[in-house]
Amino acid sequence: MSIKLGVPSKGRLMEKTFDWFSERGISLKRTGEAREYAGAVEGVDGVELVLLSAAEIPRELAAGRIHLGVTGSDLVREELGDWETQVAELALMGFGQADLIVAVPKAWVDVETLDDLDAAAAAFRAQHGFRLRIATKYHRLVRDYLRAHGVADYQLVDSQGATEGTVKNLTAEAIADITSTGETLRANHLKILRDAPVLCSQATLFAARGAEWAGLEHAARELGARLSVDMQAIWA
């Protein structure tokens, strides 16, 4: 038995994760051929590397098939209901920062805040006969946010990619999406509402509360010491 650590299997998120561990004296490596998702861990005992798509890591954590996992906090909060009961947030890793924001066309000179968006949505519904459409893939987070702020007369439409283009394509009036620099938004003639973002996300090391930890506590504490992370949070 060893601690299974789930890490994004490609791209910048994988590289940055490898760097983060290596700064703490633990080397994570992909092994075998370039296309083979196998990995190795050096510098600490009892840890096994599992390479996964970042989007699958929340689910794998919730199911307890991996003990630890690195992914964006946005994905965990979107995918897992009542996420704090399922996973423990062990460390904010300081990269992969992105904000989940609500954006509307720049030409909407009358809309700067959620207060305005709500009023515009009421007028839009009266004019067009349907509720103002907000394109997103973060349904749960955006709905909770808009409900908490008392926005009405909107509907969420699903957009799994190229969300910024939905307004121009007339499939949505506004969007809610992840942005880091805002460049894509500007290029698509959109502006961010002035309210606090739905969520400020970054790469985060999570632990599965429901995974089988029996017999692994010693290895977990070793790893925690190396990473300067309080592993007790998992069982708290």
């Binding site: 209901g81 009542d82 009961t85 066309p105 720049k106 030409a107 909407w108 000179v109 009358d110 700067e112 805040t113 207060d115 305005d116 709500d118 009023a119 515009a120 009421a122 007028a123 839009f124 004019q127 067009h128 509720r131 103002l132 349904h139 749960r140 709905r143 909770d144 808009l146 409900r147 908490a148 702020h149 008392g150 926005v151 009405a152 007369d153 909107y154 509907q155 969420l156 307004v167 121009k168 007339l170 949505a172 009036e173 698509n188 003639h189 959109l190 002035r194």
Partner: protein, 363 residues
């Protein structure tokens, strides 16, 4: 038969004895109607599924909508209906793991044009009788009084409409009221926006802002700019009125006393709504419910799903970990929406047998 099922059957029999006709409703309901009524929030509460031919469907989150629809397409008047069966609700947030996703509802709905006070009293007195012997606290309220209070504010029709739209979202309502009184963060943000909009005609501001994209047209944007500038000229809602409204929202007292206290405010706009409350209390007294002890809370019913627009009531357990045993109220506006122009005054409520079963045997 489980204990909740036995209780449901017994309640249904009692409701039939009270003159109601039993009706059934499909478990799968078209999502569109429910989404239009409740907005996107319903997705967080109802289970949504998809049919290749019929599109989005929902597992019924309550019986009210299908029962109203059935009545509107061919019921005689006045009509009394009863029903029993499972409803389905998603649970999120704190204690989500402990709350039921599927539970029984037994309900009674009364559609009648004459004497709304009498109809309100009939439903409440019936529920009170059916729930006798359980340790429950009844509570009543009246969304109609809140609506009348908003309509009576000294401000523009647009502001009143904005407040009325958010009566069922207390946090937003409070924030709007604060902004319209000229205070708080929303008032500041609004002042900045108005300053920008005064700089130049809307058409030029839009041109400067960038390419026009999306379905919301220049004309719609310009129209809201006009409304914003007009609203900026509207004087703030007087402090004293905001204070009165807030005092009204916080009012909790035995019903007779609550009525007397609201009368004493001498708020002319409340007159007709208070007359209706008065008539209801008399009808309740005749039905054996004492208005001197019946609890009244002005804000009761504001956080339930937004369709009650008059009398509202609940029967809550003294145990705080349990949801209300019964809830109900008047929903005249809902029948107008579902009846596409036709409307009929309606009042009704539901009981949750599982919660009754948890409270233990009837004394």
């Amino acid at each position: 038969m489980t204990e909740p099922e036995r209780l449901a059957a017994s309640l249904l029999t009692d409701m039939q004895a009270a003159g109601a006709v039993p009706v059934a409703a499909d478990i799968l309901q078209p999502a569109e109607t429910l989404l239009d009524l409740y907005g996107e929030d319903i997705r967080a509460r109802a289970f949504v599924t998809h049919d290749p031919a019929l599109g989005e469907m929902m597992l019924r989150p309550d019986f009210t909508v299908p029962v109203v629809q059935a009545h509107m397409t061919g019921g005689a008047e006045p009509a009394r209906y009863c029903y029993a069966g499972p409803v389905f609700r998603k649970q999120t947030g704190a204690r989500a793991g402990m709350r039921a996703r599927e539970y029984l509802q037994v309900g009674y709905e009364l559609f009648a044009r004459d004497d709304p006070a009498q109809a309100d009293a009939e439903v409440f007195a019936l529920f009170s009788r059916l729930l006798k012997g359980y340790e429950l606290r009844p509570v009543t309220g009246d969304i109609g009084i809140l609506k009348a209070a908003v309509a009576g504010l000294q401000t523009s029709p647009e502001r009143k409409a904005a407040l009325l739209r958010h009566i069922w979202r207390p946090r937003r309502f409070r924030a709007l009221l604060e902004r319209m009184g000229g205070h708080g963060p929303l008032a500041e943000a609004r002042a900045e926006l108005v300053a920008t909009l005064r700089r130049a005609p809307a058409a030029r501001l839009m041109q400067e802002a960038g390419q026009m994209v999306g379905l919301r047209s220049e004309a719609e944007i310009a129209a809201r700019v006009v409304r914003l500038l007009a609203d900026a000229e509207t004087p703030p809602i007087p402090r004293a009125q905001v204070a009165s409204l807030e005092a009204l929202l916080a009012l909790a007292a035995p019903a007779s006393e609550a009525l007397a206290r609201m009368r004493a405010e001498k708020w002319p706009a409340l007159g007709p709504a208070l007359d209706r409350l008065d008539a209801r209390l008399r009808a309740l007294a005749k039905a054996g419910i004492d208005p001197q002890t019946l609890p009244f809370e002005a804000s009761f019913g504001r956080t339930t799903m937004e369709y009650y627009d008059g009398f509202v009531f609940g029967f809550v357990s003294l145990r705080e970990d349990l949801p209300p045993v019964a809830t109900g109220g008047r929903y005249d506006a809902l029948t107008a929406v579902l009846g596409q122009g036709r409307a009929i005054p309606a009042v009704g409520g539901v009981i949750r047998p599982e919660i009754l079963a948890k409270l233990g045997a009837k004394i």
